[in-house]
Amino acid sequence: MGLLSTSVSITQYRVEGELPSPVNENVTAALKKHTINEIDNDASEQAVGWTSFDNPYQPDFEGSRFVIDTAWVFSLRIDKKSIPAKVLKKHYNIEVARRLVESGRDYLSKTEKKQLKDHVITVLSTRIPATPNIYDIVWKYEEGRLWFFSNLKAANEELETLFTRSFKLSLIRLFPYTAGLDAGLKGPEKDCLDQLKPTLFMD
């Protein structure tokens, strides 16, 4: 569900810290450095990286195309290969049978079975295309605000990891406690927030 979808999900973040000047050039460089890598023809099972909002399958951050009005608009792309369990089982069993014939034994050790399974996953991964998932981002740098257009836990965690690695800034998810700190509470009020206990509304 992307930014321009009929129905959207939003997770709000606060961004702490400043990028070195010139800011646009530095953010462009970081986006380029951590652009998604295609993994269709190699054995990797997953790739995570930035991509262009308007052209997510051919990322291009040249010419600050990601600057729209006062925001930076780009996307997180997570490509993942999912090998169907039955396909894995079939190829694993074929490999086990072949190995038993070759070795002349009637059993394989636990370690050998694991190695075989890993080998089968690697071989199949080179033959299966990755499924791309795209999550849009609107980053209002001047306001220290960022919207991530997904509530999925795994996608949010990938965003937080890649964002910190790419931009060396803190990305703080806004949920009740952090939103409370963000709401302009003063010193003693912040202490009260830390010490809050649940209210019982029933008599």
Binding site: L4, T11, N151, F175, P176, Y177, L185
Partner: protein, 179 residues
């Protein structure tokens, strides 16, 4: 600041209290909503509310009320039994336009957010304008909820909360008729 994961779990109740308070404000103190958003025509409970009782050891009950003709007295009865609002569908109106969205207490995440219709995208040149318009329309909702939460949290850490707000909410909950 506390570890984020610890803070998320420890203070989940603040989100539930916020949504419970918000329902109370919608029903009993609409002028406050207009003070926080001068373009607001109305903010109403939509077609879904989820109630959870996280804090009573003998109850892990979740109650969901849904449907356009939902009887919210059942929700008040859930509050009477110690539950809180954990998730709510809200309808915001300003001018002739309408926004609908779900808000979850523990995360303050927005989902199924539908904003007024924007212009059609016919060429790639239309994308920039569409993004600006969509961001503006989404911001109406995030700004409203952020302003409401900021108002709530300042109230929640003040003496006014236990002295005035909680008794008023209890009185409102007590007004629910048994169904």
């Amino acid at each position: 600041m506390l570890d984020i994961a610890v803070a998320y779990r420890r203070y989940q109740f603040i989100g539930d209290e916020f949504l419970t308070w918000l329902w109370f404000v919608i029903e009993q103190d609409a002028p406050l909503l207009r003070r926080l958003d001068n373009e607001l025509a109305s903010l109403e409970i939509g077609n879904r509310m989820v109630f959870e009782n996280r804090y009573r050891k003998d109850s892990g009950e979740t109650v969901t009320i849904k449907g356009d003709e939902a009887n919210m007295d059942e929700g008040l009865l859930a509050l009477k039994k110690g539950a809180m609002v954990a998730e709510v569908n809200l309808v915001y109106r300003a001018g002739d336009h309408e926004w609908r969205f779900n808000l979850k207490g523990e995360s303050l995440n927005f989902s199924s957010l539908k904003v007024p219709e924007t212009g059609k995208i016919e060429t790639s040149d239309d994308i920039e304008g569409a993004v600006i318009e969509k961001v503006y329309l989404c911001e109406k909702i995030t700004n409203l909820i952020n302003a409401l939460f900021a108002h709530f949290i300042k109230l929640r850490v003040s003496n006014e909360w236990s002295a005035q707000t909680v008794p008023s909410i209890r009185k409102w909950i007590g007004s629910a008729s048994d169904v």
